[in-house]
Amino acid sequence: MKYWIGAVVLFLVALGLALSGVNEYFFYAAYIVLTFVVLATAWNILGGYAGYVNFGTGAFFGLGSYSAVVLFKALEAPLAVQIVAAALVGGALGFGVGMLTLRLRGIFFAIATVAILFICETLMVNWRYVGGATGLQLLRPEVIQPFASYTRMLFVVMALLAIIAVSVARYVQISWIGRGLRAIRDSEEAAECSGVPTLRLKLFACTVSGALMGAAGAPMPMYLSFIEPASSFSLNWGVSALAMPMIGGTAHWFGPVVGALLLGSIQQIVTVTISNEINVLVVGVLLVLFVVLAPDGVLGLFRKFFRK
């Protein structure tokens, strides 16, 4: 109950901010940070709870963006429809990836997700309708009242998506599904023998994770007024979505949120003050530092600190 009150309060705060006179740039940066909250949370459902490492976050994210663009170009579909469609496409791809877990584990699964990423990118590069390799300029539709600008509206939309994603992750963690996924992570054979429906759970985790990532990608083309394959399907999405839960802590739903807020904000600051390359370096270095020195992430560090 406390959680839900907190969630509603946070959403109202986001809404209030968007209607207030805060500097436009804040929303521009906060939108990206919130996108990372969704991606990191979604990644953690499969990667953190079940222990299946997905490098191909960009595939789900990019396909989500492209589904939105196709719907927008063909039917002028409203944003809500685009997001639902992107979630369906992401979920479908997630289900397909889930079928791969039948045979593949560990690094084999991880490499397969990289393969899916590059195949999706190649398909979009060769699809003329969505602009091929050069991409497509998009004209934003009229902003819905009472928002003063489109970016502000997208910020609220992404805040809502982030809250939904975190709520889903929290539900998965505290329900029997989460216990089943943790059993899979610790030993898949033992879980199977103890009557855990491993395949069903894995398919569920992959589908949910994929759907959330797809939904996170849907508003991106409108945010940039532009879409092109190389950045939509970049491996950078994958390394960030993996680094953030690892840095925050993978065992608890709050971990990816902490990681995404922390790393996402650092990235935004670094991008503005130094350069875009450095921000990928920051992700890489922090990832390596945390997996080596603090395996349980920021949450683990806190727990250790307060127990003493």
Partner: protein
């Protein structure tokens, strides 16, 4: 639509390309295939090797010689990387496996961005007499740079195959891949053998990096494409099989070359990844699995 002649040319080029792919994958065939290290950073280390070759070659040294000179340095680098990986992750068993994977993924990004910061995103090339010229065989033209890569690949594969089957250490490496606990019972130290083998794998990727920059211009983000190519070859080969690596490289090279000719360059990157996905989905133990 496709004449036999064009197809023959595509296959011919594919064979050369395939040997090159085998050469860049053979290091991974040892580190991932034999030692089960989730070495996602292998292509990044190789691109790093290309840039080192670029620096050494700028002193007027032939790029292949530069690659060979770099091998001992990379050998030591490999030992350090493996030692670190072993102490922090491998020793702790499966619980640390996910983090080990994340570690190599992060390492790949650090190398890539490090190269961007030092060299910028521009493409780099090296100069040598055999780069740019072609061997004319009747109506076919074979670029010398591909022939050089072809030759080095064959020598590399043959040397490693012989090393692994004829020498004492080589056999020990194979033994570690087959049954580590048994090796421990025989009184040998598997960690030292694996460390040595990982060193060799990394040393070989210095030479592979030299070939990479001989065959074409190199840029820092190139390792991403080569994740697909190298893992495709190693998985298709069946983990740890050296001759299998050569065969799998040829399959990939010919497939890529034919797709390149029929559908154009924009489809070529999907070949390696598509093939990789098919192999993983249907026959994860590869064609020549151990």
């Amino acid at each position: 639509m496709i004449s036999g002649e064009l197809l023959f040319e595509a296959v011919l080029f594919g064979v050369l390309l395939g040997c090159f792919y085998a050469a860049v994958s053979i290091g991974l065939s040892v580190s991932f295939g034999l030692l089960d290290v989730p070495h996602v950073a292998h292509p990044a280390l190789m691109v790093f090797g290309s840039y080192c070759t670029y620096i050494v070659a700028s002193y007027g040294i032939d790029p292949i010689v530069a690659g060979v000179l770099l091998m001992p340095v990379f050998f030591l680098l490999g030992i350090v990387v493996y030692r670190f990986y072993y102490e922090t992750f491998e020793k702790r068993g499966t619980e640390a496996a996910v983090r080990g994977l994340a570690f190599f993924f992060g390492l790949a990004f650090i190398i890539e961005v490090g190269l961007i910061l030092v060299f910028g995103v521009d493409q780099r090339t090296v100069e040598a007499a055999y780069i740019g010229a072609s061997l004319e065989l009747g109506e076919y033209r074979l670029p010398y740079r591909m022939l050089v890569a072809f030759g080095v690949a064959l020598v590399l594969t043959a040397t490693l195959t012989l090393y692994l089957s004829k020498t004492f250490t080589g056999r020990a490496i194979k033994a570690v891949a087959q049954d580590e606990p048994a090796l421990r019972l025989m009184g040998a130290n598997p960690v030292r053998i694996k460390q040595w083998a990982f060193g060799i794998a990394t040393g070989v990727s210095a030479l592979a990096g030299a070939m990479l920059i001989i065959v074409g211009p190199v840029e820092p983000a190139m390792d991403r494409l080569y994740i697909g190519r190298t893992f495709c070859v190693v998985v298709l080969a069946g983990l740890g099989s050296m001759t299998g690596t050569l065969a799998a490289g040829l399959i990939l090279g010919i497939a890529e070359s034919i797709v390149l000719m029929m559908f154009g360059a924009s489809w070529a990157p999907a070949v390696a990844f598509g093939l990789l996905l098919i192999v993983l989905g249907i026959r994860p133990q590869g064609l020549f699995g151990r």
